[in-house]
Symmetry: C2
Subunit: 505 residues, 2 copies
């Protein structure tokens, strides 16, 4: 009856628990694999300020039965490229990557690409094929698989080629089992929405039947690329503080505060240290553990820290957020808001929201919600998302809205780290700070909608009123004319115009 204790590698953990990484079933696996690679490609191009050119090809290799087939997925980009020495680990080792910095990126877990390849390996046992160049004189080509138990890449083949044309980018090609035809609607929806919120990207997709989908860029002007940032003092925890103290070169607390934290200048640092009762001359490395805890607690309650600077983030902007809804539904009314930057656990974030009414928005008895996070659409598990929960918690009647009205809402959250609830990045957790910002954003646009609906209501009432005048005034005029035994009925048009309080459309 004795228990057997053992340690498993992170690759083994995700192999055993592929459901938590978005690979629950054959259809979801295809969707997740395409998505993870496209997002890596977008990040790779954006990080060097180049408009992304992404080419995706999914080829059916053979049937495995019950609707499931073996596919070959190839995703090519013109991004930064992976340095040769990092290629094996970047694609063959879990929890190895370049996404662990305080910087807005679509990838969060440093896991997606490797997870897709791992899933391909366990379903088809075919090695992955990676070609990459950083644009220097060489192109590197690897065939590799993953030693799941040890979480190590196994290099099966390595080639280096001349790069005469200075090609730069990455090509990932591997096989996986999946069900494209069930996944198709979501895959196409994903690519369409991605193209809308990344209008500077070219995305080309050739599906297993050879159908070509092209999402051509509408602009080559790129938003300023997201920048790496320092942690904001609100939301630094004891662990992070210890790491910052360990890695600092500062010899005194004043310098430490100024050099380490986001938007902390000398005078704020001085005021804070006074507030915390810690001498500005103390050596940070000599703080006792209880003083570190005290420092962190004081940081959370000091109210003079500046709000985070939004320049490290890359929000969509109100126009782009509206664009998708307008293109899809041609609504009668649309309003959008970009909230001021806020912060949770040391991560700055910005919430943007739009609301639209009418047009072709379906009246499905519920609000239509579009969710975006760091410029990617989220399509699965809507009901668990913080935005959906907030929409459900709002008393819409207060805004003159009823469930049967054609209303669409879009929410975009951008942050140096999105608090996803699943490794598959399907939905955002309800961190209180993020919830509050989403609530305020939706309330703001809801008030705009309310004004619009009030105006519509007023117009309708006025039109009814004018209709009554228009119907009865001529009759009254004729009756009065008859009564006075006059011949000519007076013209009532002027009278009708005088009671008009609104302009006709």
């Amino acid at each position: 009856m004795s228990q057997i204790f053992e340690h498993i590698s992170p690759a083994d953990f995700f192999y055993r628990n592929r459901d938590i990484a978005g690979f629950s079933n054959p259809s979801r696996a295809i969707y997740s694999a395409i998505r993870e690679l496209v997002e890596n490609s977008l990040d790779a191009a954006e990080s060097i300020g180049v408009p992304p050119d992404i080419f995706i090809r999914l080829t059916r290799i053979k049937e495995s039965g019950r609707g499931v087939s073996v596919y070959e997925l190839r995703v090519q980009d013109n991004g930064t490229g992976v340095p040769s020495q990092h290629i094996p680990s970047a694609f063959g080792q879990v929890l190895f990557g370049s996404k662990y910095r305080l910087k807005q990126s679509r990838g969060t877990f440093g896991l997606g690409g490797t997870m897709a390849i791992l899933y391909g390996q366990i379903t088809t046992h075919h090695p992955a094929h990676i070609i990459s160049s950083t644009g220097d004189s060489r192109i590197y080509e690897y065939r590799l698989s993953i030693d799941i138990r040890r979480n190590r890449p196994i290099i099966l083949q390595r080639k280096s080629l001349d790069n005469d044309h200075k090609w730069r980018g990455t090509i990932v090609e591997f096989r996986l089992e999946g069900d494209y035809f069930r996944a198709m609607p979501k895959v196409l929806e994903y690519l369409k929405q991605t193209a809308v919120v990344n209008p500077y990207a070219n995305i080309t997709f050739i599906d297993p039947r050879g159908r070509l989908y092209m999402f051509t860029r509408a602009t080559t002007s790129m938003p300023p690329p997201p920048k790496e940032t320092k942690p904001h003092p609100y939301g630094v925890d004891v662990e992070m503080m210890q790491r910052l103290i360990q890695s600092t070169d500062a010899r005194d607390m004043l310098t430490f505060m100024v050099e380490t934290f986001h938007r902390v200048g000398k005078s704020i640092a001085k005021n804070f240290l006074k507030f915390a009762g810690i001498s500005p001359k103390r050596d940070p490395k000599k703080l006792r553990p209880d003083e570190v805890v005290h420092l962190v607690q004081k940081m959370k309650t000091f109210d003079e820290f500046l709000p985070p600077d939004a320049s490290c983030l890359s929000p969509l902007g109100e126009e782009l957020l509206k664009a998708g809804i307008i293109k899809e539904y041609q609504p009668e009314f649309i309003a959008a808001i970009q909230r001021k930057p806020s912060t949770y656990s040391g991560h700055p974030f910005i919430v943007e929201a739009a609301i639209a009414y009418g047009g072709n928005i379906p009246r499905k008895g519920d609000i239509v919600l579009f969710r975006f996070a760091n410029r990617i659409p989220l399509l699965y598990d809507e009901a668990s998302d913080v935005s959906w929960k907030i929409i459900k918690s709002i008393n819409w009647r207060r805004y003159k809205a009823t469930p049967d009205m054609p209303i669409a809402i879009a929410v975009h959250v951008c942050s140096t780290k999105i608090p996803y609830k699943t490794v598959g990045k399907e939905f955002i957790a309800d961190r209180p700070e993020v919830s509050r910002e989403i609530l305020f954003a939706i309330r703001y646009v809801a008030r705009k909608l309310q004004k619009f609906l009030t105006r519509v209501e007023y117009k309708q009432k006025e039109l009814r009123r004018l209709n009554i005048f228009a119907k009865y005034l001529p009759k009254i005029a004729r009756f009065s004319t008859d009564l006075a035994e006059k011949k000519r009925t007076p013209n009532v048009d002027k009278l009708i115009r005088s009671v008009k309080r609104i302009e006709e459309d």
Copy 2:
């Protein structure tokens, strides 16, 4: 602009991504911490066939502001105990544990207990205190914290005490920041439902205000404990097959098949190897990689393997599944089903479902759903759960049910591995095999409900019909008497009785 590549430890991964492990906010953190430790305790007692005695105490240490406080959580059990040499890793290292076997247990990820302690550490920076004995002559006591970057326990203090009274069990005590008062309804609901489906457990909880909640066992008879099992041939993937081949002592394929897989006897093994075109005399370790892939593919399509044996699983049984609903709602009608065991990815599983109607079930415009997995209730993120999706996909009118009816459904899935979608074990992914079983189970009980509702409808119709007879027959009788100029109206009671087709309630 160069990217920085780095490797992070699994502890660091979960530190950065606590949302995916159920620690999104202060209220959820309290709930998750209690839950993870209670589930470990239940597993620890059940694994040695002892009725669990679990004592939970949550003490408020101090306010941290904004509704959040520092609490001390202590959970004590009478389970198997952790051997001294494993205590530091079991509580101070992520992805180390005893839950990685093919055996039904509440824990799945080998993560929960350590994650709770890790969360406590980053919010309070206080070491954890572990006391445990396997019932031998010594009790071991540790104070430890976690080196998150290296994923290693740091032992701050270690003591060994005499165990004169042969105490056996584990005590975990640590501090964490949280919001108990917001978490309270879920915590109490969790304990209540846990007590219902584990009626052989004593659960005692003292909350921060000193209120005592006792859930006393209703029986000391334990279900047969879940047993470790071999992988079932359906759903073995290439990775698993390679591991099995690596670790086998068998010198030929026939022996390998019989020794390695669940319910594979000699004659089935022979038939299968013939079907797969592999000689029974081949040495499994000498199979070429493409032959391994071929073997796995053939395994999925061979239809003579026996279904998995349920004896390694510990389902609730129909009575226990009904008990919770009956206790809560006293319904007019209840039906339950235990499906035959099935399998996904090599894991046997059993689905049980119950449906109830009337009584105190709220008419909230939607079905009330209770979800259980391996004898624990799932309370969060219902809308993303496979059971909820299936309930939503069913055309309930076909079963004479409408959304405004008071209907409750309970679903229990037990398996050697529950395909959770989140590390926080909030909801089950829609693996096709599991979905199908849940659908069949719910359809079965829905048909029982339909019969009940048809009977109710018929009774109501009959009562209306009888009422009409009862109302008009005497009048017709009187009228006919008058018409015939007779004095005595005949008695129609017999006539009314003769048209009765149902018994009165």
